[in-house]
Amino acid sequence: MNNRTSFLSRLLPLAICAAFVGVGQSAFGQASATANASATIVPSITITKTSDLKFGLIVAGPGGTVSISPDSSRTVNGPAGLTNASFPVSAASFTVSGLANLTYSISLPTSTTLTGPSSSSMTVNAFVSNPASVGTIDSGGTATLNVGATLTVGAAQTPGAYTGTFTVTVNYQ
């Protein structure tokens, strides 16, 4: 009996010790903190043409320039411009798609050439756009980009249809 009591009395403080040491390590010697982690996956930006750049119907004769602004209005300087439903006038229009609220930069060409009958040609340059150089994709993930330019018509330009192409590039900023 005496032996047993003695044994227990020795064991008890040891147990207390063990408990104490355990608490000390977990509560005071160690600490944790949690951080948030995030990543945003962005869809590739795309641009799709929805309308071509159309200078409309122009009467050959004196040379000059025909400008289409991004809002599709036409300014003629030199040759006469006709209004005809079969030969509409419009700025080029593009739909830009990407992640909502991101901004994008716009690169316009310097010039392009329209070719017509008998290898005759005209130059289009002074491209302008709305928005001008930087746009913002709206909350729905799209944006509209309108592009105009200036056509230079030669004196006694060969009559006929003239066509060409130009490329607009957009990039996330």
Binding site: S6, S9, G29, T34, A35, I41, V42, P43
Partner: protein, 176 residues
């Protein structure tokens, strides 16, 4: 009585902190033994998160790849990933403020991996290869403070659904 002594001495030896209790036991058992014991009470360590781990915005491209934020906050990518630099989607390493006993060394335990989940969806991104600065262990300053920065690597596929992915991870520090 002789057989008790080695046991008793051993107790004292391995549990210096609890010397008083052991000595109490000795008194009860009728055996006395004297040893000196010293205990230094140190301030417990605390860790506070001050900055999230942000990978910013990226375009997976055709094949995807990995994107890494280093503890110094710099970003890099492999595969066909294009990293975007946008003020709308800042990137940063996670940062923690440490507080504890002056000059004490500590060890750092980082998670192995965690899952980031797309907001409004169930798509996931694995965040792993955690790195930290200091790397595995560090020392608190003479005023008992410190800073811990943590980076990691995410793996994304070429067809990773667009959106904001988020999750959380826990770092644990212990006095050495």
């Amino acid at each position: 009585m002789k057989y008790r002594k080695p046991f008793h001495s051993a107790s004292i030896f391995v549990t210096l902190v609890c010397m008083n209790a052991v000595r109490f036991a000795a008194a009860q058992g009728g055996v006395s033994s004297t040893a000196s014991a010293t205990t230094t009470i140190i301030q417990g360590m605390s860790v506070t998160n001050t900055s999230s781990l942000r990978f910013g915005a990226m375009i997976p491209g055709a094949l995807g790849g990995t994107s890494t934020v280093a503890p110094n906050g710099s970003r890099s990518a492999t595969g066909t990933i294009t990293l975007l630099t946008s003020s709308s989607f800042p990137s940063s390493a996670a940062s923690f403020n440490l507080l504890g006993a002056p000059n004490l060394a500590y060890t750092i335990t980082l998670p192995t991996s965690v899952i980031l989940t797309r907001q409004g969806g169930s798509d996931t991104i694995l965040l792993a290869a955690f790195t930290s600065s200091p790397a595995a262990s560090g020392s608190l300053s003479s005023t008992g403070s410190g800073t811990l920065s943590v980076g990691g690597t995410i793996t994304i596929t070429g067809s990773q659904a667009a959106g904001l992915y988020s999750g959380s991870f826990t770092v644990t520090l212990a006095y050495q």
